[in-house]
């Protein structure tokens, strides 16, 4: 049994039953799932959670669907890694990496898709669909296959090769659209009106889908011994994840799972080539002006972010910040994380690390804060981005002389030679 009391428009407050609705019929504002928190509080305990599965479903009481047999590939409960070497490089104190590269299809999207398709199945949908920058496509195709549902995935035509393969392999339908992600998104938003029998996870079941991102906050708090961090850094595509992470910490407090009221500063990370939220933050305005994206961080290349305004509001109210970084800084960020912590992130992770570095250098993220950075996707998905900046130290003949010569010529790793 779930604890959902209904859906409520974030703009005008109109309420709706928990059906396949994503926007308010009256004002088009986004609908938010509401829960009976008193009943959740009476049921959900640390012990009950600890006895649950090592997946997002251990937090089912604060998810919008209850199903003893969810559509599940094992999403969630990913490592929270203490990142001392990275912290030292950035001049920070206590830094943690939430390593969501460890999800079944390699990104945080498995959290939201597992929730969305479990709810979609309950609502009677047989076909799973989405508009995607790649990670969601991978996850929808995989989870649909797992659930025995048909899938229809729409992606921009110029996605990274791995993301296309990792979607197509599951046997569903994949349409490469000649346009940007915003074009794909508009097409899917229109298709939803024509194909009401399809569950577009990030359109007509988006209300439920988005709730899955709260589990990032739930896990971080549990993994920190039921404490909230002081500061989180979250990448911004649509802005949904950032707002849901903030909501997640607040809900834990509301249902009595935290001893202290959380006061989490939430900072957003964007790529300079697609930074509508960072721009509005810097300019101090409320208006998010849509942009035409141009960045290697394709999973964040949403020029017209659906939750941009709410992300901005969340950042400001929490005392966080929002910054953008260049593509070159993104590549530096990927290599910095890999070199210091052994975690290989996709370009969105490079955006997060580079923004973390920038905000640390500016003193916005402080040394006395307990900081968590969300690394939301695996580096294997975007290897093309690194093609020109990493590779073998040398290509050599299979002889000792050739090896010795190449080793001597390698100035980048001089310390290895000294120690050998």
């Amino acid at each position: 049994m779930d604890f959902v009391s209904g859906l409520r428009c974030r703009e005008c407050g109109r309420t709706y039953p928990a059906e396949a609705l994503h926007v308010c019929d009256f004002c088009f504002g986004p609908l938010e799932v509401t829960y009976d928190y008193e009943r959740v509080a009476a049921t959900m305990t640390r012990e009950r959670i600890a006895a649950g599965p090592r997946t997002i479903w251990r937090y089912a009481d604060l998810l919008p669907v209850a199903d003893p047999n969810p559509v599940d590939l094992g999403a969630g409960f990913t490592p929270l890694v203490r990142a001392d070497r990275l912290a030292a490089e950035l001049g920070l104190g206590e830094l943690w990496i939430k390593d969501d590269t460890a999800n079944p299809t390699g990104s945080f999207k498995d959290r939201v898709v597992s929730v969305a398709l479990t709810k979609a199945r309950q609502l009677g949908f047989k076909i799973a669909a989405c508009a995607s920058t790649g990670n969601l496509a991978n996850s929808v195709a995989a989870h649909a296959a797992r659930a025995g549902m048909d899938s229809v995935v729409l992606i921009p035509h110029d996605l990274e090769r791995a993301k296309v393969t990792m979607t197509s392999v599951y046997g569903g339908r994949v349409f490469a659209v000649q346009g940007s992600y915003d074009d794909v998104n508009r097409l899917c938003a229109e298709l939803t009106s024509e194909q009401p029998e399809w569950a577009f996870v990030n359109v007509n079941v988006r209300t439920y889908y988005a709730e899955g991102s709260k589990t990032l906050a739930f896990e971080v708090a549990e993994q920190l011994g039921w404490q909230a961090p002081d500061h989180v850094v979250v990448p911004i595509g649509s802005g949904s994840q950032l707002t849901k992470v903030a909501k997640g910490f607040q809900e834990l407090w509301q249902v009595g799972l935290l001893d202290e009221e959380p006061s989490v500063r939430v900072s957003g990370a964007q790529a300079e080539g697609c930074s509508p939220v960072a721009t509005a933050f810097a300019e101090g305005t409320d208006a998010i002006r849509p942009v035409k994206p141009h960045t290697i961080a394709k999973s964040l290349a949403i020029g017209n972010p659906a939750d941009g305004w709410y992300a901005l509001d969340t950042i400001r109210k929490s005392g966080g910040s929002c910054a953008s970084v260049t593509d070159e800084e993104v590549l530096d960020g990927i290599r910095l994380l890999a070199r210091t912590e052994g975690i290989f992130a996709e370009t969105a992770g490079g955006v997060t690390i580079a923004t973390l570095a920038k905000l640390a250098a500016q003193g916005v993220i402080r040394r006395d804060e307990r900081v968590v950075a969300m690394i939301t996707g695996h580096g294997l998905k975007t290897v093309e981005a690194l093609a020109d900046v990493v590779g073998p130290t040398a290509t050599i003949a299979p002889t000792l002389d050739s090896f010795a010569e190449a080793l001597a010529a390698d100035s980048e790793h001089a310390s290895i030679q000294r120690s050998s």
Binding site: E11, H22, V23, D25, F26, C27, F28, G29, P30, A131, G179, Y181, D182, D183, N185, R186, C188, A189, E190, T192, S193, E194, P196, F200, N202, V203, R206, G237, S238, G239, S240, R289, P290, K292, I302, N304, P305, A306, D307, W309
Partner: protein, 90 residues
């Protein structure tokens, strides 16, 4: 005359029709024309100042009118205007 594509959320105002043909020389004129022929449209898509509501996107053919001239964008015969809920994606 322009074709206007109506999202499911507004089809209660059009008797279920997903597409209407409306006269007007700008995007704003066409949308106001829609309100004149189908009472109640205006309050759903316009805010108190007469601009588009925050969560309503309007496209002329495939382009978001915010990248054009907004409601003042000229419309020529045969173009399609789409009204699309903004909250989607990501």
């Amino acid at each position: 005359m322009s074709k206007v594509r109506i999202p499911a959320q507004l089809r209660t105002l059009t008797g279920g029709a997903g597409e209407l043909v409306i006269d007007g020389s700008t995007v704003g004129e066409v949308l106001k024309g829609l309100d004149a022929t189908h009472a109640g449209f205006g309050e759903r898509i316009f805010d108190a100042e007469g601009g588009l509501r925050r969560f309503v996107n309007v496209f002329l053919d495939e382009e978001d009118v915010r990248f054009l001239d907004g409601l003042a964008t000229p419309v020529t015969d045969g173009q399609t205007i789409s009204i699309v809920p903004a909250v989607a994606g990501g």
